[in-house]
């Protein structure tokens, strides 16, 4: 394809692409995001390609590998268009049937469609599945429609129209005003108004300015940015180009985690294609605007998601924060004015420009506009990526979209905002997804991690887990963060071992105040959140650990014991066979007994004891009854 030099040429090319595409022609799409890749989408892809040839339907059907569909729990996912028939957990062996039945006969393969885990009801069409039906997928939606390695697919769905509008119909000031008016707030965590940030960088003196994409997503269990970058790098680049034009930058950087190989690969392809077609380089589409983008791979430090650390790392220095002010908008990369936004923020920009600020800001709450992508993980039926309008409640996300807690267990808490976010209990489930509302509740929006916990999760142990993560991931530069986390982690670890002491809670609060108050960057300032939010909402669990050496959730290994109730045990031997430590003794059809000295608390016995007997009890905070054994 030769370079596109004018907007006219672009539109002609777009029409040409569209004219070659028959919307009624069946198209098999296969989700090829990282999650489906892990469950075998590559093998499924090969099977589809082979079977299309084998069943001689090459002319009748097209095949497209797309970005992440979001319903990761059920991957690999195949969707057949134009109907939108959705098949889940598809294996290579299923392909022959899909093609012979659905493509050739227009019949549904019933065994592969969605089955509601609670009602048993089947749903054929993707759009009708509760997981998708209750979302508003303004960003993720295009993941399903395009092959992330194919720029023509992006053009076919109206790609780069926002860039054209920006370059030819708007001044940089108007673009900044549009973003301001849209009230778009940064999706990376802090929620700072993006338009205001852009304005700082635009007005900052200096000929050389930079724009940066922050794709250093490091929250445990979070992969929103990964999926956007893997599934639609074009939209991120288009947003970046618009931002560059608005603030007056001619050079952009994308900082991607090394651990996201597919994101890096697709991004590099998208950049190369954009250069070939003339969306990047000199005199873009004849507008006189020059812009280039470079990719930088991070080396796997959580702290590099913090913007000043990211910029230091980009410069080749250790990933440690600088004091702000000066803010990057004034003095950023190599001392030049720099605007840095998160992947999702950039991906929202084409939307803002295409729809206009008014339409964009009609979605959401007063303070938070547009949609937000969450990675819904943990003890929830429908694990995956969900995109909801701001203002949706946590309850809607977890129960309507997420399908609730599996295994009939009770919901206990939801953790939002990544490792330095907060845990919210059931009575706050009606909290709206909104930057300010979540802060008020003691959690935070963060970049969009959402971890659901059930009754078996110990919140003291969860606080310990997150502090342990932060202890490793803090850069260690300033005392309150490094030492505060160290001391808090010690106290929490002791509690989970039954070594908690009176006064520990007060000490935690004092340490938290110091760390929050005097740390240099946002990592330290928010690091005590897991402790503070669990203390606020689950204080009784702390008291049980400290005062009674009891773990109410029966999760802390050092505070629990396994015991076989003699009156219930039928001597079936299931636990005896399962025990890896030879800690269980007992003859067949005789009561079995656990040797507490040998028990490693692996839970194997409790898991295999038949439900009809239910003889293994987990005890905490009480002595194990001695069992009189014969002989």
């Amino acid at each position: 394809m030769p370079r596109i030099n004018t907007t006219g040429e672009l539109e002609t090319f777009r029409q040409e692409i569209l004219s070659q595409r028959d919307v009624d022609k069946p198209c098999i799409t296969l989700c090829s995001g990282s999650a489906c890749h892990a469950t075998g989408s590559n093998k499924v892809s090969t099977a589809i390609e082979q079977e299309i040839v084998a069943q001689d339907v090459t002319a009748d059907v097209s095949f497209r590998r797309t970005g992440c569909h979001g319903f990761c729990e059920q991957g690999p996912i195949v969707v057949i268009y134009p109907q939108g028939i959705c098949y889940l957990k598809v294996q290579p062996d299923d392909i022959a049937e899909i093609i012979s039945e659905t493509i050739k006969e227009n019949k549904v393969v019933e065994r592969l469609v969605y089955v509601d885990p609670n009602s048993g009801e089947k749903t054929t069409l993707e759009e009708d599945i509760p997981f998708y039906k209750n979302q508003e997928r303004l960003i993720l939606g295009s993941n399903l429609k395009i092959d992330p390695k194919n720029l023509e697919d992006y053009l076919a769905i109206g790609g780069y129209q926002a860039l054209v509008k920006s370059l030819f119909e708007m001044t940089p000031e108007q673009i900044v005003d549009e973003v301001k008016e849209a009230k778009l707030r940064g999706r990376g965590g802090a929620g700072f108004p993006s338009g205001v940030k852009w304005d700082f960088a635009r007005k900052a003196p200096g000929d050389q300015k930079y724009v940066v994409v922050n794709c250093d997503e490091g929250d445990p269990g979070a992969y929103m940015d990964r999926s956007v970058m893997e599934g639609n790098p074009f939209a991120v680049l288009e947003g970046l180009m618009i931002g560059a034009y608005a603030i007056g930058a001619n050079e952009g950087y994308v900082y991607v985690r090394q651990e996201y190989p597919l994101a890096v690969q697709n991004l590099e392809i998208a950049i190369k294609k954009a250069e070939e077609y003339g969306f990047l380089g000199e005199n873009i589409l004849g507008s006189g605007f020059n812009f280039i983008v470079k990719v930088h791979r991070g080396a796997g430090a959580f702290i590099c998601g913090e913007e000043t650390s990211l910029l230091n790392s980009l410069e080749g220095k250790p990933g440690e924060p600088n004091a702000r002010p000066p803010f990057p908008a004034i003095k950023g990369l190599w001392g030049k004015p720099t605007n840095i936004n998160n992947v999702e923020t950039w991906a929202n920009i084409p939307l803002v420009i295409n729809k206009g600020a008014k339409a964009f800001s009609s979605i959401g709450t007063d303070g938070s506009k547009g949609t937000k992508i969450f990675s819904l993980v943990g003890k929830v039926n429908n694990t995956g990526l969900v995109e909801v309008p701001m203002g949706a409640t946590l309850r809607d996300i977890i129960f309507k979209i997420g399908g609730g807690v599996p295994g009939g267990k009770q919901f206990k808490a939801v953790q939002t905002g990544g490792p330095s976010g907060g845990c919210l209990p059931e009575n706050l489930l009606d909290t709206k997804v909104d930057f300010d509302e979540l802060n008020k509740a003691g959690a935070m929006m963060g970049s969009g991690g959402m971890i659901v916990m059930d009754e078996d999760t110990c919140l003291v142990d969860i606080a310990r887990y997150f502090l342990e993560f932060l202890s490793d991931e803090s850069c260690g530069k300033c005392t309150p963060c490094r030492e505060g986390i160290r001391q808090m982690l010690k106290i929490l670890t002791n509690m989970t071992k039954g070594l908690g002491q009176k006064g520990d809670v007060d000490l935690l609060l004092e340490l938290a105040e110091t760390t929050k108050g005097s740390s240099m960057c946002a990592l330290g300032k928010t690091a005590p959140n897991p402790v503070l939010s669990t203390l606020k909402h689950f204080r009784d669990e702390y008291d049980a650990h400290i005062n009674h050496q009891r773990c109410p959730s029966l999760a802390c290994k050092e505070l629990i014991d396994f015991y076989i109730e003699p009156e219930k045990c039928k001597g079936c031997g299931a636990c005896f066979r399962k025990c890896p430590a030879d800690a269980i003794t007992g003859e067949k059809k005789q009561v079995h007994v656990i040797d507490q000295d040998k028990c490693t608390k692996c839970r194997g016995c409790a898991e295999v004891c038949p439900a009809a007997f239910d003889a293994v009890r987990i005890l905490s905070g009480e002595p194990v009854p001695t069992v009189a054994t014969e002989g």
Partner: protein, 206 residues
């Protein structure tokens, strides 16, 4: 450079643009404690005992005086209950590493910090970075650096450079607030490191 007017502990201060709150406070005789600050080095903001309270932009914030630039109309308080409490806890955390540091103990007396509040740590270093920064910024030798991150962060000499540069310099030693012991210890260890047989003699002049 334009003049900037602010208030520190009730005193009116006229400072020049780009000056830090710490320098502005010192200019009117208000003393703010520091451990990682050094007149010859760039502000670093590691120890945070210089944390002060300030009203600006309609809110009250805690700022590191050694790094935060003066702002017009800023109202700074260097001793409040919260500031003192934070300094106390920070000192206690550092005393877990360096219980015998004269400089830290002096401050501990002022802020009522308990030397034994936290369990003692094996590493004396409080990671103020004076040695690392002095070697990099003033001597430009980079013979000592930070290694690892988070709770595992530590300073260490780079043996190849240290062997060459440190012997007749050692200017970082007196900067160490936890006594030169740590630096000397690490240096000795570094210098004594693998006594493997040299391939060829470097040429002894003596």
């Amino acid at each position: 450079m334009s003049e900037i007017n602010l208030q520190i502990d009730g005193k009116k201060v006229t400072a020049s643009e780009g000056m830090t709150l710490l320098a502005a406070a010192r200019s009117v005789g208000v003393s703010i404690p520091t451990l990682c600050d050094h007149e010859k080095l760039h502000p670093y903001g590691a120890c945070r005992v210089c944390t002060v309270e300030a009203d600006a932009h309609e809110k009250t914030s805690l700022l590191a005086a050694c790094q935060h630039p003066v702002e017009e109309g800023l109202v700074v308080r260097t001793r409040t209950e919260q500031v003192d409490k934070i300094r106390k806890v920070l000192l206690e955390q550092m005393l877990a590493h360096a219980p015998d540091s004269e400089q830290i103990n002096e401050l501990a007396n002022i802020y009522g910090a308990d030397r034994d509040r936290f369990e003692k740590e094996s590493n004396f270093c409080i990671l103020c970075g004076l040695c690392v920064r002095y070697c990099a910024e003033i001597k430009q030798k980079h013979a000592i650096g930070f290694f690892d991150r988070g709770a595992k962060r530590e300073i260490a000499f780079i043996p190849e450079i240290a062997l060459r540069e440190c012997w007749d310099c050692k200017e970082c030693f007196p900067l160490c607030p936890t006594s030169a012991l740590q630096a000397a210890y690490v240096l000795t260890e570094a210098l004594a490191a693998p006594p493997t047989e040299p391939k060829s003699c470097g040429g002894c002049k003596g």
